[in-house]
């Protein structure tokens, strides 16, 4: 029984520790998110986004390792779960670079796409009329695009 209560305190201490870590990581993420609102430099924004993604992975690790108890399982079980998930590294690298390449190709060879994404539109007022105004704005921007094409 005394061993049991000793283990009990260890587990509770670990839960407390992980709770604090997860909360702190979330708060740092939110501070970075608020900070990013006022920043316009694209390179700097990208750096902050990178930090946020690293913090996200750290949170995921703590949830899976401690809350889902995977760290304390046998190595066999850990491996059957973690190794297949390594495919995600490839998925993310391949698909995101594919998307990026598609954008570059369209910007280079599709003048309509390029023109469409440079026309500024008015921000709509909030409220019940939002959908109607949206339709109007869309039609307008289409006309503008046509003009841009003719030029």
């Amino acid at each position: 029984m005394s061993e049991n209560t000793h283990e009990h305190h260890d587990v509770i201490a670990e839960i407390k520790k992980v709770t604090i870590i997860l909360s702190v990581l979330t708060i740092i993420e939110l501070i970075l998110g608020f900070w990013m609102i006022g920043i316009t430099a694209p390179g700097f924004r990208l750096g902050i986004k990178g930090v946020i993604i690293i913090l996200m992975m750290a949170k995921a690790f703590y949830i899976v390792a401690y809350f889902m108890h995977l760290k304390h399982e046998l190595k066999n079980l850990i491996m059957t779960i973690v190794v297949p998930l390594a495919l995600f590294i490839w998925f993310i690298a391949a698909f995101l670079s594919d998307g990026n390449s598609f954008r570059n190709l369209r910007n280079n060879y599709n003048p309509y796409f390029k023109a469409q994404s440079t026309i500024k539109v008015e921000a709509k007022e909030e409220g019940a009329h939002a959908t109607q105004e949206k339709g109007g704005a869309k039609a307008e921007s289409k006309e503008e695009k046509k003009e841009a094409e003719h030029k």
Binding site: H8, I53, V64, R103, I119, V121, A130
Partner: protein
């Protein structure tokens, strides 16, 4: 006689009893495999979102889209505030779930019941927050196929933003909903002394794995839609 020995040496190549390779219960291994397949489903959704976002020149600014708060006056500018509350609700309900799992291991029925009730309350609170947010966005004119928000650089946006937002948060919300239903069933079974009769609370551990997975997915969804 020689036939029998041949058969047994043939069988000896395969694991047939003795020390368990994973040393966990069958249902728990299967729950892990289910969660892995679910992780691939969510991963496919989020990667397709990322791919489309990378292939587009402009994208709406989440701080301009998600800036409202319940009971706040019209036109309030509070980016990230509401979603951070939702995130903390889910983290806290995950903690109470771990405590319920731990109480189950200690065969402490009262602890299981108490922590399961808190977990269920957390899940319902999260769902209510999400329902409010969806309803609010719908009133602003956002839905599948409708996007009232312009891109961050002031250009016209496509409906990709709202399509992905509602599909992925909706799929996650459906997982939260089924998690709450599972947790309520677990609470009822605990109250009926089902697990005391079985002599173990392994079902609580399996429900716990599912609930933590829901929290885990929210970590990714929250980062991808509200922060990046």
């Amino acid at each position: 006689m020689s036939n029998v020995t041949a058969a047994s040496t043939k069988e000896a190549k395969w694991w047939n009893g003795g020390k368990s390779p994973f040393d966990v219960e069958y249902g728990k291994v299967m729950m892990w495999y289910f969660l892995m397949s679910d992780a691939f489903t969510f991963g496919a959704f989020l990667i397709s979102y990322g791919t489309v976002r990378f292939s587009t020149n402009g994208w709406p600014d989440p701080n301009k889209v998600f800036k409202s708060f319940p009971f706040a006056p019209e036109g309030v500018n509070a980016p990230l505030v509401f979603v951070s509350i939702m995130t903390f609700i889910l983290i806290v309900s995950s903690v109470t779930m771990v405590l319920a799992v731990h109480a189950g291991k200690m065969m402490d029925k009262k602890g299981v019941v108490r922590n399961m009730i808190w977990t269920i309350i957390g899940g319902i609170a999260f769902l209510s927050c999400q329902a409010w947010e969806w309803n609010h966005l719908h009133h602003e004119g956002a839905w599948w196929g409708m996007n009232p928000f312009i891109n961050a650089d002031g250009t016209a946006s496509t409906t990709n933003f709202t399509n992905f937002f509602f599909t992925i948060t909706g799929f996650h919300g459906f997982h939260v909903f089924s998690g709450v239903v599972i947790n309520i069933i677990m609470l009822i079974m605990t109250l009926m002394d089902k697990f005391e009769q079985r002599g173990h609370y392994l079902m609580i551990e399996k429900a716990g794995l599912y609930w933590h997975f829901v929290d885990l997915v929210w970590v990714f969804v929250f980062t991808c839609f509200y922060l990046l």
